[in-house]
Amino acid sequence: MKDRKDDQTVSARRDFLKLSTLGVAAAGAAAAIAPVKPAEAAEPEGTGYRETAHVRTYYETARF
């Protein structure tokens, strides 16, 4: 269970990221990015990488 310090840390990181990248999104770039992405992700031969099933198990251990 998280203590309050953890929550504050997570929140600081999230706030920082919002401030840092909102310059891109605020003006609508996030919406513009979307059409670029599916073209890559949707076509099976276009995108190089996909994840397989055992990634779930890996996430649970979460260490390199």
Binding site: F16, L17, K18, G48, R50, Y58
Partner: protein
């Protein structure tokens, strides 16, 4: 295994706003550096916008250049920068940046991590996995949990610190400074600034 579209949509809907932004920036970088641009991609890029923050300005600059450059010139620029005769002005592979050679140990370490993460290449992709576009694609996939749940920040950070942080900032700076760069100059700026943002944000996790 690929999950169905429904669960992907669910994850997209529940992912935090800033994570979708991060994944979006990685997607743009992956798309830009993956292959030579065609007219359709240049027209996609023209829709990018940004505010007056440094990274926002770089997005706006990329959109503007995508709108003014001749598609043939854009294709040639990509070739001069990253392909060349023998090699381009820059070599966008982690192994090359870290060791001076392609296919060295950093690639082996990446392949090992990919195997453990369950990330596999589509058949028919021949280029080494440590291409900058591939690494950006993998980061976006980890953040989005493209087929399963999003990877924890701790895992994203470990992947970033091992495979991008040691060289990606240098690479993007080199793109900004490259003789042949015009369209790609603001893309280099976006990459450099975004690597700084990611580094600073991950450091807040401590």
């Amino acid at each position: 295994m690929s999950a169905n579209a429904g669960s992907l949509k669910q994850h997209e809907a529940t992912a935090a706003e800033e994570d979708l932004l991060r994944a979006g920036v990685y997607d743009v970088l992956a798309s830009v550096f993956r292959r030579e641009p065609d007219a359709g991609f240049l027209s996609d890029l023209q829709r990018l916008q940004g505010d007056d923050t440094p990274i926002g300005q770089a997005f706006a600059a990329l959109a503007a250049r995508a709108g003014s450059i001749d598609p043939t010139a854009a294709r040639h620029e990509y070739g001069d920068l990253f392909i060349g005769l023998g090699r381009g002005e820059l070599v966008p592979y982690g192994s090359y940046y870290l060791t001076g050679f392609l296919n060295e140990k950093p690639l082996a370490v990446l392949r090992d991590d990919m195997a453990r993460l369950g990330i596999v290449r589509q058949e028919g992709v021949a280029e080494p996995e440590d291409h900058i576009a591939s690494l950006c694609e993998m980061m976006a996939g980890l953040i989005r949990g493209r087929f399963l749940e999003p990877a924890p920040v701790k895992l994203q950070r470990a992947f970033f610190e091992r495979h991008l942080a040691p060289w990606a900032g240098h690479f993007f700076s080199d793109v900004e400074a490259a003789k042949s760069a015009d369209l790609y100059r603001p893309a280099g700026t976006i990459g450099r600034l975004f690597m700084e943002i990611e580094t600073a944000a991950f450091a807040m996790e401590e």
